[in-house]
């Protein structure tokens, strides 16, 4: 394989009531996801009122991305070409179930546009793109389990074809009581080598 000069410069994990950035715990608090993530928003000083309108998947992805992009000094003012490639197993099913509940009973029928708009997994990419002014390549993929090989191939394609200068990759899952976000940035800077085995090592930590 050719020498790969792109590296993983940062990674962020949100699971089990903890937010970890590059092996450092930056926030932890017990309790249900909804209170945990709201508390993280306040403690980390995110200051973005649209956050409160988001569904759980978007909140999860948004906070993970915000922690990582801030650390990387990526700001809306610089308008960097950072592509976003996300994946998960449950798509937007958590919010899909909410919408389905609102239409299941004809006598109690209350579909809402504020819920329905989140019945697509890529909405969380839109939320991050809006905050960080990322007019970049984005796509959402569904796999039964974390698929490092796919993220590796597709991010390399975008970088090599100069469609993107950096790629924010990862897995953002919210399904029932289970949540897990694992995001990492691939860029031409110092970092962990960008290979499938390295991605898997970080994910399996």
């Amino acid at each position: 394989m050719l020498q790969n000069h792109y590296n993983i410069t940062s990674f962020c994990r949100i699971k089990n009531n903890r937010i970890i950035l590059n092996d450092q715990v930056v926030f932890s608090e017990t309790g249900h996801f909804s209170t945990f993530i709201k508390s993280a928003y306040k403690t980390l000083g995110v200051k973005y009122p649209k956050f409160f309108k988001m569904d759980a998947l978007s909140k999860l992805a948004f906070i993970a991305a915000d922690v990582l992009l801030k650390h990387e000094n990526i700001t809306p003012e610089h308008e960097e070409n950072v592509a976003i490639i996300f994946s998960n197993s449950a798509s937007s099913l958590e919010t899909d179930r909410t919408h389905q509940t609102s239409i299941q009973n004809k006598a109690n029928y209350f579909p809402s546009p504020a819920v329905f708009v989140y019945t697509l997994p890529n909405i969380c990419i839109g939320e991050i793109s809006i905050k960080y002014k990322l007019y970049s390549e984005n796509s959402f993929f569904i796999f039964d389990t974390f698929n490092a090989e796919h993220l590796f191939t597709y991010s390399n394609s975008l970088l090599e074809s100069q469609k993107a200068d950096k790629v924010l990759c990862g897995w953002v899952e919210y399904d029932g009581e289970h949540y897990d976000a694992f995001l990492y940035l691939v860029a031409k800077s110092e970092g962990i080598t960008h290979q499938i085995k390295d991605i898997n090592t970080l994910y399996n930590k």
């Binding site: 976003i84 197993s89 449950a90 798509s91 099913l93 899909d96 179930r97 919408h99 389905q100 609102s102 239409i103 299941q104 029928y109 579909p111 809402s112 546009p113 329905f116 708009v117 019945t119 697509l120 997994p121 890529n122 909405i123 990419i125 839109g126 939320e127 793109s129 809006i130 960080y132 002014k133 990322l134 007019y135 970049s136 390549e137 984005n138 796509s139 959402f140 993929f141 569904i142 796999f143 039964d144 796919h150 191939t153 597709y154 390399n156 394609s157 975008l158 074809s161 469609k163």
Partner: protein
């Protein structure tokens, strides 16, 4: 860099179960939309194009005797069966990929009255079912990126081939008309009560339709379909503006077209035809007209095919690309059904009748929720 081609294809729709039949209907201006009265999915009559279950079962039984599939799976398998058959490619080979394009997959399995288990609504389950049915060696890659999924899937297939992961990729798209979808779009007040009228001054919103479609993307130039095209350039850029409304300046679409043209090494003068998104909502159509004008594409013949099928969500970009490739092959522009008088603030050249014209290159665009946009440029192969 090697060339990648868009080749054999199939469409499953209310206008027919193969691409040629469907294109012939479009040639004659026949719409697959009709008024539907079905209280199980919507309380009032609505316009849609639906796949007749009896016709589908008949076509499906010619493809396979296997049982236990959902309606959507039958649509997608019937479509892919035709495309694989035309191509003669052995899908058991490790250099053959499978990409699935859908927004909601088997979302009807969430309904308590649906006979299938709720787990069927997981999109990777849909991928597994289709992979297993045909015996693909590789796992399916499922793309779910709102209304650009179908066209984005073609771009992703090309990128996988250029990364040398695959030599051939079968792309199959599908989405259903369900209560889930209709109630949601209705809550946005986006549904039209009449057949949709893209770009028209009287446009009143979208119709939702159901189709499946499939195509082979390949690097093998030796055994291409007659209507095959080369995929010259592709890009997908976000509006970074709003999650449910398009950018007023068409920023993401403008940038997508720019990036695709740069990669394709073509200018606006090289584009013979635009197959646009044209959902017939006020904001979408206006946004597209602005983006096309920013690229000086206002004189290029443009259509929206939503007047034939409605908006078919995760399939729309794929099905519209298939029809675009036939348009090039037949040197014929097909009318943008439902259009009478321009209703966008910038001039665009909407096709009003079936017109013979030499065609070489077309641009396909789509835009969707989450601020996503995709543009792909295709060029005719001279056999």
């Amino acid at each position: 860099m090697g060339k990648v081609f868009f080749s054999y294809n199939n469409i499953i729709s209310s206008l027919g179960f193969d691409s040629k039949t469907v294109v012939d209907k479009i040639h004659h201006g026949v719409s697959g939309l009709k008024q539907i009265q079905d209280n199980a999915i919507f309380p009032t009559p609505f316009y849609s194009s639906l796949i007749n279950p009896t016709d589908l079962d008949a076509a499906f039984s010619l493809a396979t005797q296997k049982k236990g599939y959902t309606k959507l799976e039958k649509m997608m398998i019937t479509s892919l069966h035709d495309t694989i058959g035309q191509s003669g490619i052995d899908v058991h080979h490790n250099k053959v990929g499978l990409i699935i394009s859908t927004t909601k997959g088997n979302i009807d399995a969430l309904d308590q009255n649906n006979p299938f288990l709720e787990t069927r609504s997981y999109l990777h389950e849909l991928g597994r079912v289709i992979k297993t049915h045909f015996g693909f060696k590789n796992d399916a890659i499922v793309v779910s990126n709102a209304c650009v999924s179908g066209i984005l899937a073609i771009a992703i297939a090309k990128r996988y081939i250029l990364q040398n992961v695959y030599d051939h990729v079968f792309v199959v798209g599908g989405d259903l008309v369900t209560e889930f979808i209709l109630s949601g779009f209705n809550s946005f007040q986006a549904l039209s009560e009449v057949p949709c009228k893209p770009y028209d001054k009287d446009r009143a919103g979208i119709n939702i339709g159901e189709t499946a479609a499939s195509a082979l993307i390949t690097k093998d130039h030796t055994a291409l379909a007659k209507e095959a095209t080369e995929i010259l350039g592709e890009a997908s850029c976000n509006d970074a503006n709003h999650i449910s409304g398009p950018s007023r300046t068409g920023e993401g679409l403008y940038r997508s077209i720019q990036s695709a043209m740069t990669q394709a090494n073509v200018s606006h003068q090289d584009i013979d035809y635009i197959s646009a998104h044209g959902t017939a909502t006020m904001y979408n159509d206006e946004m597209e007209a602005i983006a096309f004008n920013r690229h000086h594409l206002e004189n290029v013949p443009v259509n929206s095919l939503k007047g034939y099928f409605g908006h078919t969500l995760g399939t729309s970009g794929l099905i519209e690309t298939i029809i675009g490739t036939h348009s090039l092959c037949n040197n014929t522009l097909y009318p943008s059904l439902g259009f009478n008088a321009l209703g966008v603030s910038k001039p665009i050249n909407v096709i009003t009748q079936t017109t013979k014209k030499p065609l070489n290159t077309f641009l396909k665009t789509a835009s969707g929720f989450g601020g996503c946009n995709t543009a792909v440029i295709f060029k005719k192969i001279n056999h």
